[in-house]
Assembly symmetry: C2
Homo-oligomer: 197 residues x 2
DNA sequence: GTCTATAATACGATAGAC
DNA sequence: GTCTATCGTATTATAGAC
């Protein structure tokens, strides 16, 4: 691979593992094997390299999101996205950046994160609207709000898992919200029947 | 105030604002006004000071949690804790630590975070069980799991808010999950009546 | 307990040859 | 494009006087 691409890949990995502030140009050099001169030739500053790496990490996230808006039963798509295998202890490569003061305070670094989250939100809104339309969710639930809730469950699940060094809380959190969604299905004739009416 | 206490307070603030890795002993000295000699007299290393500051931040969180298990209607307690005023753009002083590699990789620093989250979880489990017992939540919902879900909504809400530099997503996420909880109430005679039966 | 001085190392970058 | 050498600053302390 060319140095430039290798640098971006390496920085992407390191930013996922350690964030931005705690990743030094030296770390990138050592892991990638690319020399000092090369590195500063392609990326004049650490920040420039970080921007490229961040765009890359954001791009990684989007294919999965597009499946939210794919074919099939809305509730099934919701479950598939929510329960997709994820490394709970590594966290979200994009969401992680919000906790890095040097990212949070730099509009240029924060922008890709904001854009990515806006796209994910849009994906959720679409599938939630479809679920309401399909009679799988009560019509008095607000898809816009619920979309934020579901994103938060995943992002927060990572925090809980890392705190306990155990993926359990992550899985519990997402399973729990799925149960809640199912419990919030509109009452059907069948349901009322089961209740003995 | 004495130097020792002043150092802890200052470190607590800085760890909330900037995390651990990105807070230097120098930052603490400058904000607190405590001199170099004093500082290293009371806390031989940055890590020692961080442990003290972390314990302090954890302690800050607990009074609110105890209200979860207080008197009154369970669902009302749930709403009160969930909707309690919070600075969404600052994030959680405890949850934040999970994203700092230097904290995450240090069992001593991570331990108070894990303990705090375990306590919060316990508080949630109690009130959720009470809600089920009071007929405010369906009996087929698992309080243990739901507790993780609700914690995740708050922790993840901060992530969303910081990403967008807007408290909106935080409020949407928590309002959304509250709606969901309400929608997951057991069907009552009154409900069935409203449905025209 | 607090002060000032000092130090080893890492960070983030620049210079200039090839 | 890549290499080695160098630079100024910040970090995280330590030393030793008061």
């Amino acid at each position: 691979m060319e140095s430039r691409q290798l640098l971006i890949e390496t920085m992407s990995e390191l930013m996922w593992e350690r964030g931005y502030a705690d990743t030094s140009p030296r770390d990138v050099r050592e892991r990638s094997g690319v020399g000092q001169g090369s590195m500063y030739h392609h990326f004049p500053t650490k920040r420039d390299l970080a921007v490229a790496a961040l765009e890359r990490n954001v791009a990684d996230l989007l294919p999965a999101v597009s499946e939210l808006d794919g074919p099939g039963d809305p509730m099934a798509r919701i479950e598939a996205y929510l329960m997709r295998p994820r490394d709970a202890l590594k966290g979200c490569k994009v969401g992680r950046m919000t906790q890095d003061p040097q990212v949070r305070e730099d509009p240029v670094l924060l922008a890709p994160v904001a854009r990515a989250f806006a796209q994910v939100h849009l994906g959720w809104v679409k599938v939630l609207r479809a679920a309401v339309a399909a009679g799988e969710l009560r019509t008095d639930l607000d898809p816009e709000r619920l979309a934020h809730t579901l994103m938060a469950v995943l992002q927060g699940g990572y925090v809980l898992a890392i705190a306990q060094q155990d993926p359990g809380p992550f899985d519990a959190a997402r399973t729990g919200v799925l149960e809640l969604l199912r419990a919030a299905a509109p009452a059907t004739t069948d349901d009322r029947h089961k209740m003995g009416e």
